[in-house]
């Protein structure tokens, strides 16, 4: 009786040994030594059910795990379950008794003893171990749940961190109402989260895009595998509208279907896209204009060339009468002038494009220029029965300024030429006024005028060219853009007052910079006293083109020069060494062998004083010529007047 009481108390002790611990491992750690001690065992092992297999997770003594005997015991009990009403599986091996009790679905507990248990006791022990098994299962489930909860909390924290730190705005909404928004959403909507929660999604969308948004509304997302992706504009609070890249998907939120929007600001990208499109359109337009320009230029060049070649051929006919010949020559000259002006325009525009249109300031008299232009255009105006007037605001002595005279003449020439071209009846007037620190020039006509909507375009390159092929007026369309570029380079502005059918007045300003010294009057060819012919003057023409040589020879012989020819730079240097009486050298710059500038530098070594004028068809400039040792520079093509004037000027100076 006492013995039974002891067994009962021991069993009770084993049952209560599971209390107080919240972890299956701790329960086992506490219980197993008690089983050893109380049940007088030499071994207790736990085989835990892991993925439907029994794996050893605890064993006392530890050293038993290395023994072959234990391996056999484990193997036996792993593959065997108690039969029928057996409380446990039993094994007798190498003088020891082993008992395996089920711990429910947790696993199996194995006891090793030197003496067998009383059979009754094996039954009495079963519910104790069953109870242990249930406790272990509960503890394991609690632990798993706690792990899951911890994992969930960590996952939530991670998601919250991602949501709060991402630069992508995130909205969750249902029935259009915003249920959740993250920090990024606050930043680009300009509303705080509390305010966003009172808004509907469509409240944020630009009116122009509400329809697009509606297409992607939540009930349209149901069943869709992929999210919707589109771009839209939104209306942030107290800020300008901005572009957003939107993805809409569906998710479950608090047990209900909700839409999730991820959005990021693409305003800058959109602006860049627009810029690119504009640049592309501009480039395409420019390309279009260039093509039209080239077509027109081709026409503009071919037309005078046709006259030149045609009338030149006619001149060779043997039976030309003087009147016809005179007419032919006149036509050739006029066509050459026209062709030359086209070439000058192209050269000027290409210099402007290449930012090589340098300003060369010198002292000029405005009244002299006005007078010169008046005389130049008087005949053209008269031919069209137009009246031409000039206006000068200053007396001659006070009309001197510092500016680039060639560009000023070019600007006024273009404007006056246009005025004459676009006026059929009436008057042309031009001149200047002093307006504080600027001189304001004007060219006015009573011509066809210019519609107001074209005022900004009229200074664009090729603008006139863009008119259709049935155009009324010839021209390259470069004149006004050249004027504008020159005026702005010289520090001025250009504008116009005009209406269609009411004539036009072009204005431009240039800085009014007074020169320190009076300006020398320009030497006109007619004023130059040509020295009495002296056959002593000798000119060396270094030119590899025979026609150009013949032309210059003709010009120079007309002012009594002896001519020596050199066909290249080497020849020129050699001739200079041997011929000491050369007064003037006309040096072509681009020649085979030795170029003109190199030849000039060599000649300067032994003829430092001889007058050398650089002459070329390329867009060289005077500075380069001077730098390389020349006295002056003349660019082809040139008229006889221009050529002789340059020669005389150079000789007189030297």
């Amino acid at each position: 009786m006492v013995e039974k009481n002891i067994r009962t108390e021991i069993l009770l002790e084993l049952v209560f040994s599971t209390s107080g611990e919240l972890n299956d491992q701790l329960i086992l750690k506490k219980s197993i030594p008690l089983y050893l001690r109380k049940l007088n065992c030499f071994l207790v092992g736990i085989l835990k059910n892991t993925e439907n297999k029994l794996k050893e997770t605890m064993l006392i003594p530890i050293v038993a795990s290395k023994s072959r005997e234990w391996g056999s015991v484990k193997s036996y009990f792993t593959n065997r379950k108690p039969l029928g009403d057996e409380p446990c599986s039993q094994l007798f091996l190498e003088g020891s008794y082993y008992y395996a009790y089920s711990l429910n679905t947790y696993g199996v507990l194995v006891l090793g003893r030197k003496k067998p248990f009383d059979e009754t006791f094996t039954y009495e022990l079963q519910p104790v171990l069953n109870h242990l098994g249930m406790i272990l299962i509960q503890m394991r489930e609690i632990e798993q749940r706690e792990r899951a909860e911890k994992s969930l909390r960590e996952s939530e924290l991670r998601l919250r961190t991602i949501s709060d730190t991402t630069t992508t705005g995130i909205f969750i909404y249902n029935d259009e109402k915003i249920l959740y928004a993250n920090r990024a959403a606050e930043r680009f909507t300009g509303y705080c989260i509390a305010e966003l929660m009172t808004l509907k999604i469509l409240d944020l969308v630009h009116p122009d895009f509400k329809d697009i948004f509606q297409e992607h509304r939540l009930d349209n997302q149901q069943g869709k595998k992929d999210s919707s992706h589109f771009e839209t504009k939104i209306l942030p609070n107290n800020r300008e509208e901005c572009w957003m890249d939107i993805n809409i998907g569906v998710m479950e939120w608090m047990g209900e279907q909700a839409g999730i929007i991820s959005a990021f600001d693409i305003t800058k990208r959109k602006e860049m896209e627009e810029d690119i499109i504009k640049a592309k359109e501009k480039a395409e337009e420019s390309d279009r204009l260039k093509t039209a320009f080239l077509n027109n230029i081709s026409h503009e060049i071919r037309t005078p060339l046709n006259a030149i070649t045609g009338f030149s051929a006619l001149l060779t006919m043997p039976d030309n009468d003087p009147v016809s010949q005179s007419m032919y020559i006149d036509s050739i000259l006029k066509s050459s002038d026209h062709l030359l002006s086209i070439v000058y325009d192209i050269i000027d525009m290409s210099n402007i494009e290449a930012k090589a249109a340098n300003i060369q300031i010198s002292k000029v008299n405005l009244n002299t220029i006005i007078d010169k232009l008046y005389k130049q255009f008087l005949n053209s105006a008269s031919d069209k029965k137009l009246n031409i007037f000039k206006k000068t605001a200053l007396q001659f002595e006070k009309a001197a300024i510092k500016t680039d005279p060639s560009k000023l003449i070019k600007i006024l020439s273009n404007l006056i030429s246009n005025a004459i071209k676009f006026t059929t009846t009436g008057n042309i007037s031009f001149g200047y006024e002093v307006k504080g620190s600027f001189i304001e020039f004007f060219v006015s006509d009573t011509g066809i005028g210019i519609p107001h909507e074209l005022h900004s375009k009229i200074f664009e390159k090729f603008f006139q060219v863009e008119k259709d092929l049935g155009r009324q007026f010839e021209g390259t369309g470069l004149g006004l853009s050249i004027c504008k570029a020159f005026v702005e380079n010289m520090g001025g502005e250009i504008w116009l007052h005009a209406e269609s059918g009411s004539g036009s007045t072009f204005y431009f300003t240039l800085p009014y910079e007074k020169p320190g010294l009076p300006v020398k009057p320009e030497i006109q060819l007619s004023e130059v006293s040509i020295p009495a012919p002296k056959k002593l003057r000798t000119a060396l023409i270094a030119e590899d083109n025979q026609i150009n040589f013949d032309l210059m020879k003709t010009y120079l012989e007309s002012i009594d020069f002896n001519i020596i020819q050199a066909v290249n730079g080497i020849d020129a240097v050699e001739i200079c060494r041997t011929q000491k009486n050369i007064d003037l050298i006309l040096m072509d710059i681009k020649m085979p062998g030795l170029d003109g500038y190199t030849a000039t530098r060599q000649i300067r070594e032994f003829l430092p004083d001889v007058t050398i004028i650089a002459q070329t068809a390329y867009s060289e400039n005077k500075e380069d010529a001077i730098k390389n040792g020349c006295n002056d520079f003349i660019s082809k093509p040139f008229t006889q007047k221009q050529f002789i004037s340059k020669v005389m000027e150079s000789i007189n100076i030297s």
Binding site: E13, L39, L43, F121
Partner: protein
């Protein structure tokens, strides 16, 4: 192989005995037991220990047994005909450390028919985890025999002896690939119903059946003994009424209360909360019967070649305190036709290939080899 006894204050004799054992080829190892009273100082003893070329294990114990007599002072040298694989442990370390050290020091000590001598500082708070570590490592392969070293003053001091010196809060083991015959018994029997330990911490019993432990204990003991506890007679009564921890199919494990403070019973060794205990009692006859039983068990397990005329005895000092002068009878009982040599310990360590290793109190252990 005969043991030698060296009285206290005879260092020269001790030294010469140690030298002799050193040159005796039949002696492979030495058990060194020193009584607490008049013990040699560390300064005197350590040089002698370090000079010894034979493995030495042992300790300082309350008393010794030599040739069937109590010795309250002096040294017993018990030569062994087999070499011990010895290892010292610092009991302030963790069970993992113990296992690691055992793994490196005793990796070849896994034979089934083997013996493990264990002497441990009885006052160490880590005794239980060390004993568990020993069991975890050795399992039931060896026969365990040993006991707790120290003094009845229950004050810590260096009491574990090895070749290298004397240590406190330590344990020493010696393993040999030879089985000794062991018998364990106590002779105490239950005088109460099972009682539940409802609150305990280590060796302190705070409550029994949710009541203050001493109150419950006192009630039962006073009723049985017809004696009354006073402020200064606790041990005089309690020495006759130890506690017993029940086990299935085995002798109870006895726990020895040695003092009470604020209704808390202080035991020599640990008692676990939740365990069921009974109050035990014995008398001279039952104790002597226990001693005889232990001897008979040892003899029954002895093999040919074992010296049945030399009995090694590990007896609990509290049995001596209980039996007082009648203790001689116990020695006579176990050494009726043999020389009895041994130690009186504070706690006994014994197991014989059967079950979990435990520390016993008030128990007698007999070994033959």
């Amino acid at each position: 192989m005969k043991a030698s006894y060296i009285p206290p204050d005879d260092l020269h004799s001790l030294e010469s005995h140690l030298i002799k054992t050193g040159i005796d080829n039949d002696i492979k190892s030495l058990l060194f037991f020193m009584a607490y009273n008049e013990r040699y100082s560390e300064e005197l003893l350590i040089p002698l220990l370090q000079k010894s070329i034979k493995p030495i294990i042992g300790g300082v114990f309350p008393e010794l047994i030599f040739n069937g007599e109590r010795k309250q002072g002096g040294v017993i040298l018990l030569p062994l005909p087999f070499k011990l694989n010895t290892q010292l442990f610092d009991l302030s370390e963790t069970p993992e450390d113990f296992l690691k050290q055992l793994g490196s020091g005793q990796k070849d000590s896994q034979e089934k028919s083997s013996t493990l001598f264990v002497f441990i500082d009885a006052l160490s708070s880590n005794k239980v985890s060390f004993i568990e570590s020993l069991f975890n490592f050795f399992s039931i392969n060896p026969t365990y025999i040993g006991g707790g070293a120290g003094s009845l003053k229950f004050e810590p001091f260096s009491c574990i002896i090895t070749n290298n010196g004397i240590y406190a809060n330590a344990a020493i083991i010696g393993w040999v690939n030879k089985k000794i015959a062991l018998g364990v018994a106590h002779g105490w029997h239950s005088v109460s119903a099972p009682l539940k330990v409802t609150k305990a911490r280590k060796n302190q019993l705070m409550s029994i059946n949710w009541k203050p432990a001493f109150e419950v204990y006192k009630e039962i003991v006073e009723a049985h003994s017809e004696m009354k506890f006073t402020a200064d007679n606790f041990f005089n009564i309690a020495k006759s009424y130890p506690l017993g921890i029940s086990k299935i199919d085995a002798e109870m494990v006895v726990r020895d209360p040695f003092m009470v403070i604020d209704n808390v019973l202080h035991m020599v060794d640990n008692i676990n909360e939740g365990e069921y205990i009974e109050i035990l009692h014995g008398n001279l006859d039952s104790l002597l019967a226990g001693a005889l039983k232990a001897r008979d068990i040892a003899i029954s397990k002895s093999e040919d070649g074992m010296d049945k005329n030399s009995v090694f005895c590990i007896d609990c000092i509290s049995r001596v305190l209980y039996m007082e002068n009648d203790f001689l009878k116990e020695l006579e009982t176990i050494g009726s036709d043999a020389d009895v040599t041994g130690i009186l310990t504070i706690g006994e360590i014994a197991n014989s290939e059967e079950s979990f290793l435990e520390i016993y109190n008030k128990t007698i252990v007999i070994g033959l080899w």
